[in-house]
């Protein structure tokens, strides 16, 4: 059953659940953050509408900088603005920022510990038709490896809005990972959000300990919840965690889940190597080793197709999660 304390969307299992692109939540959150703090500024590398920074630009034209197609410059310009007291949000597709401009982010933002918020849209393979060049599935690995960097991957538009407002109030660099496609809305404005706090979204309906813990990040959390419901019907009890902050990792929550369930499946739209599952494995290997299965892209690049076709091809869907849990719980 879904966790009643989190005040989640009651229709989240319905076929007609509301679907909104996660990036839309960012666009709304940025306007709110800018209204609350005059130091918030926006920079975009020629993708203002697509990254949903257009609403901010309309409302605060004097606080918006159009960079042109120059992501490396954008990262370092933002560092310079942060040195003068600004809270810069920089937007592009994840493949280009933090992809193309990784070293500029590393040296001029993270090494300098400047509060630049790197917002990467179109992360994951569900970007779809654009093909593999535009599907960032390495971004979690390359950002979480940087000291000082906070990495957040919201599960839906509502959580993305809260995360955007929250990171506008912190003094650290942040990578905020957004997806392009419409995503089922699982949380509500009343669902609590705190940077660095994982949440248990689903627990066994009967008062029994779970056989497997599922840890998901981003939009695939919805597939994990669907899988949990199916599994319970078929007699396998699981607990599902929304791990939206990948760094700093909520180690206490992850270890607690591992202790309760004894087995873990991680789910992410990212390479298995170096992603959220790796972060979980690093934590558990040194604190409470348990068997882990990783749902993610297995050392391949993406390709064109509909999001549904691609999710199926790379083994990231509900049935893949069900299968992994069943294998593990044998």
């Amino acid at each position: 059953m879904i966790n009643p304390l989190l005040k989640l969307n009651e229709k989240l299992f319905d076929a007609d659940v509301e679907q909104v692109p996660i990036r839309k939540g960012f666009g709304e959150g940025l306007v709110q953050a800018a209204e609350e703090n005059p130091q918030v500024v926006g920079l975009c590398a020629d993708l203002t509408e697509s990254t949903q920074m257009d609403k901010f630009k309309e409302k605060f034209p004097n606080r918006f900088v159009e960079m042109g197609v120059a992501e490396q410059n954008m990262a370092s310009v933002a560092s310079g603005m942060a040195a003068m007291g600004k809270i810069p949000f920089i937007t592009s597709y994840s493949m280009f920022s933090p992809g193309r401009n990784w070293e500029q982010i590393r040296t001029t933002i993270a090494y300098n510990d400047r509060p630049v918020k790197i917002v990467g849209s179109h992360a994951g393979v569900s970007v779809g038709p654009d093909g593999g060049t535009h599907q960032a599935i390495e971004d979690i690995a390359i950002t979480r490896v940087m000291p000082n960097m906070v990495v957040i991957s919201p599960c839906d538009a509502v959580e993305a809005k809260k995360a955007t407002v929250a990171i506008s109030k912190t003094s650290t660099p942040v990578y905020l990972r957004l997806a392009r496609e419409k995503t089922p809305v699982m949380t509500t404005p009343d669902t609590p959000f705190e940077i660095g706090k994982a949440q248990i979204m689903w627990s066994p309906s009967v008062n029994k300990t779970p056989q497997v813990g599922i840890i998901a990040t981003g939009a695939l959390l919805h597939k994990a919840l669907l899988a949990a419901k199916t599994l319970e019907k078929e007699g396998t009890l699981v607990e599902v965690m929304n791990l939206s902050t990948i760094k700093p990792l909520d180690t206490e929550a992850v270890i607690t889940l591992a202790k309760r369930a004894g087995k873990i499946v991680t789910v992410e739209e990212h390479q298995i190597h170096g992603g959220m599952g790796s972060a979980v494995a690093e934590c558990l290997a040194s604190n409470f080793p348990v068997p882990i299965r990783f749902i993610g892209v297995n050392d391949r690049f993406g390709q064109s197709g509909t999001p549904a076709e691609i999710i199926e091809f790379y083994g990231l869907g509900e049935k893949d999660i069900v299968k992994a849990v069943k294998e593990l719980s044998k």
Binding site: S76, S79, M81, A83, T107, T108
Partner: protein, 288 residues
């Protein structure tokens, strides 16, 4: 503000002190870059003892001019100039590149927070200076404070440099001054052999910058160029400073092999002797 003869002599003497400390610190470190720091000593001396609006004993003074060192590898000249202008004790210079030192091999703000930025990887300093200048424009501070960015000629080969040049020109950042150390050398050889930069002035001009070319060892020309930049309201200014790498020590001058190595103790002794005699000449010239 034109230089008086006394001020000019003082700046020249300070430049000589800066060079002497550069030799001392490089020998003590046993590694580091020699040619660039010596070549930029006259410009750094002019900036810190004449041009910059700053308070060495109050490094975080909010109204200070900002100086971004883009080519972090010439940090011995930055550290030496900062020490001689009172930011920290001159004795500390000998900790350069040592474990636990505030004076990291390439500048790092975490160790020395009074730096405006960390640097080392080439080509990103101008972007940061552009960001600072844009932030000041947004806050209507652009007539109160100036942003300076020190760059090498080698880093004109980095694509990011030109992304920043383009944005600076687009936004007409009159509060921004870039200085290119045109010493014609880089690690692998002479710039025009490795990757020809000329016509460098025309390139910057084509990106809508005001270009001033100077002799980077003529204190009056250096000071005048920074003054002239203040009168250009429609564009950012770049000062292309022709310098002699290794300037002040005849044996080091104009030789690209001195780009990235320190002098041995014997070479340093010779260099110090030359620089001391140069110092005497500056004093003697002033007394004439």
């Amino acid at each position: 503000m034109h230089l008086t003869e006394e001020k000019k002599t003082m700046i020249e003497e300070k430049a000589n002190d800066i060079r002497l400390s550069i030799i001392d610190m490089l020998v003590a470190a046993g590694s580091g870059h020699t040619a660039g720091p010596l070549g930029m000593s006259d410009i750094f001396s002019t900036l810190y003892f004449h041009t910059l609006n700053h308070r060495p004993t109050e490094p975080t003074w909010p109204e200070r001019d900002m100086l971004v060192l883009s080519n972090g590898h010439i940090c011995p000249v930055l550290y030496s100039t900062m020490a001689h202008s009172g930011y920290f004790p001159v004795e500390e210079l000998k900790t350069l590149r040592k474990f636990g030192s505030r004076l990291q091999g390439h500048p790092h703000r975490e160790f020395l927070p009074m730096l405006e930025t960390s640097s080392g990887p080439l080509g990103s300093g101008l972007s940061q200076a552009v960001g600072m200048a844009i932030a000041d424009s947004m806050d209507a501070q652009d007539h109160k404070r100036r942003i300076y960015c020190m760059m090498s000629d080698g880093e004109q080969e980095e694509g990011q440099t030109w992304e920043a040049v383009m944005l600076g020109g687009k936004n007409k950042l009159h509060n921004l001054v870039a200085v290119v150390d045109r010493n014609n050398i880089q690690i692998d050889g002479y710039t025009e052999t490795i990757m020809p930069l000329e016509p460098l002035s025309d390139k910057w001009r084509a990106f809508n910058w005001h270009v001033i070319e100077i002799d980077g060892h003529n204190i009056e020309e250096i000071a005048d160029a920074f003054e002239m930049a203040k009168t250009i309201y429609e564009k950012p200014t770049v000062i292309i400073a022709h310098t002699i790498p290794g300037k002040g020590v005849k044996e080091f001058e104009q030789d690209y092999r001195w780009h990235g190595k320190p002098p041995t103790p014997v070479e340093a002794e010779m260099a110090i002797k030359e620089l001391r005699s140069l110092g005497g000449k500056i004093q003697g010239h002033h007394n004439d």
